[in-house]
Subunit: 258 residues, 2 copies
DNA sequence: CCGCGGAACTTTGCATACAAAATCATCGAA
DNA sequence: TTCGATGATTTTGTATGCAAAGTTCCGCGG
């Protein structure tokens, strides 16, 4: 509550390890990989070879392996015995289910935050973060828009006062999966999308937590309907644009590298 | 959906690595530590020394360190640079917030599962798992009762059909934190507790998802009220029985080992 | 043309070694 | 006694080595 929020930008692709030598190499590698995933340098399904990462980051394989295990525990990376690590890949259904899941989480955040929101720095931060969403809306096909939405909800979750809610929503795999959702919404009507959020935001500011929850819920369910119908259309096909990078050729199998 | 559920017991404290030599040592160590945590052999705040674990499990430090990092990514273990690993400790407030958080999750599971529940093996499994809760109720101060409740909800989450919900609810740290909740409920009226669950279960079987959610929600909020008033009573004191093991002396600080 | 060995190469998993950092124990001064 | 410094010991963090498992590639028979 003392620190309402960092400014509404979150990208932090820092350099090597030159400046901050206090943190361990493991966390440096973890951060680098997470950044790489968030920036799209690593795409779902991509194989991560310990020796290559070690060379790239100028460390030995030991901290790289530890970082990969940490990310595997996080759910960002998939680890198979004797076959190493890959960026975790979510099926179309899993992504839709993830949205349904986060609806439940964010509803809690919206409800608690709305009820607690008093005039003051927190409220200013909400306004500011919402402005960032509107600003990013013109670049709504870049990940800036998703990031702005994410930051808005992170702020609400923080304001909610539920420690676990914020802890959970900050985790790298949540950011990662949230980003993946962006690949699923080619069919949405964007004017409607931002109009929904405008309404949600206004209701949050009004302090009516019950109505805010209703608006937020119906927004998410609207998106879910669109996604589900799109998914039915594609059936088992690989998830739309997710194939772009040349990896992620669908299917559950652990296909050979490269 | 093909595999309704394993039988309603979940303890699996397996032996060394004698029999199954295909899985990696890392996963063996991870499983061993998780089992140890679930059995109470490792208590929150306890320091985990890599060399000791290595010797105990008959492996070198490398896989132990990787396992610790994986568990840190999971959220079961806390890792501090140059100071190693400890079993994660949740403050009283964090535990209460965790229950509020899981309410949101389980409400989703209850809603979806109830709506989908048709006569057949799934329904039989629900009945069976509920019977396990009733059976464990007589040992309601042991962890068997918590385990039975957990298994019941895991089953609902599986039946829900939401892939992410089940994935999430299976994670070790969820099991661990759920277990920690047991330390918080000395004030509950147990007759009421089981009566609530009896009602919830009956409503789930009836197929009325709306009412099932309402019953489940009010049950959790009832528990939350009790916990919050107990927490207000204790104020900043260490969490009731959690001190038992001689570790967890409250406070946020990273106190020296042993 | 396609599938099928099998050798050469790559990559993983684990063990060990060693320096840096933290912890602990001892001792002396306030 | 309590506090703080100081050296011994423990523990961590990282690098490196090597065997086993996996992957790739190439040539052969169908």
């Amino acid at each position: 509550m003392t620190d309402p929020a960092a400014s509404p930008s979150s990208v932090s692709a820092s350099g090597p390890a030159e400046d901050d030598s206090s943190a361990s190499l493991v966390s440096f590698v973890v951060d680098s990989i997470v950044d790489g995933v968030m920036e799209g340098r690593y795409v779902p399904g991509q194989r991560l070879i310990a020796a290559d990462l070690a060379e790239e980051y100028g460390v030995s394989r030991a901290p790289v392996r530890e970082a990969l295990h940490m990310l595997a525990g996080e759910g960002v990376v998939e680890l198979v015995a004797n076959r190493g690590a890959r960026i975790r890949r979510l099926s179309l259904q899993e992504r839709i289910d993830f949205l349904e899941f986060t609806e439940a989480i964010c509803v809690l955040g919206v409800r608690l935050a709305t009820a607690r929101l008093a005039p003051g720095p927190s409220r200013d931060a909400v306004v500011e973060h919402y402005a960032a969403i509107e600003a990013a809306w013109h670049r709504r096909h870049s990940r800036d828009f998703v990031v702005a939405l994410y930051n808005y909800h992170i702020l609400l979750n923080r304001i909610s006062g539920n420690l676990f809610l914020e802890f959970f929503y900050r985790r790298p795999y949540i950011r990662f999966y949230t980003l993946l959702l962006a690949d699923l919404v080619p069919g949405v009507h964007w004017e409607q999308y931002i109009a929904n959020y405008r309404l949600i935001h206004a209701t949050i500011l009004s302090g009516d937590s019950h109505t805010a929850v209703i608006h937020f819920s119906s927004h998410i369910r609207w998106v879910l309907r669109i996604m589900r119908s799109a998914a039915d259309g594609e059936e088992g096909a690989p998830a739309a644009r997710a194939v772009r990078g040349g990896v992620d050729p669908g299917a559950e199998a652990w296909l050979p590298g490269r």
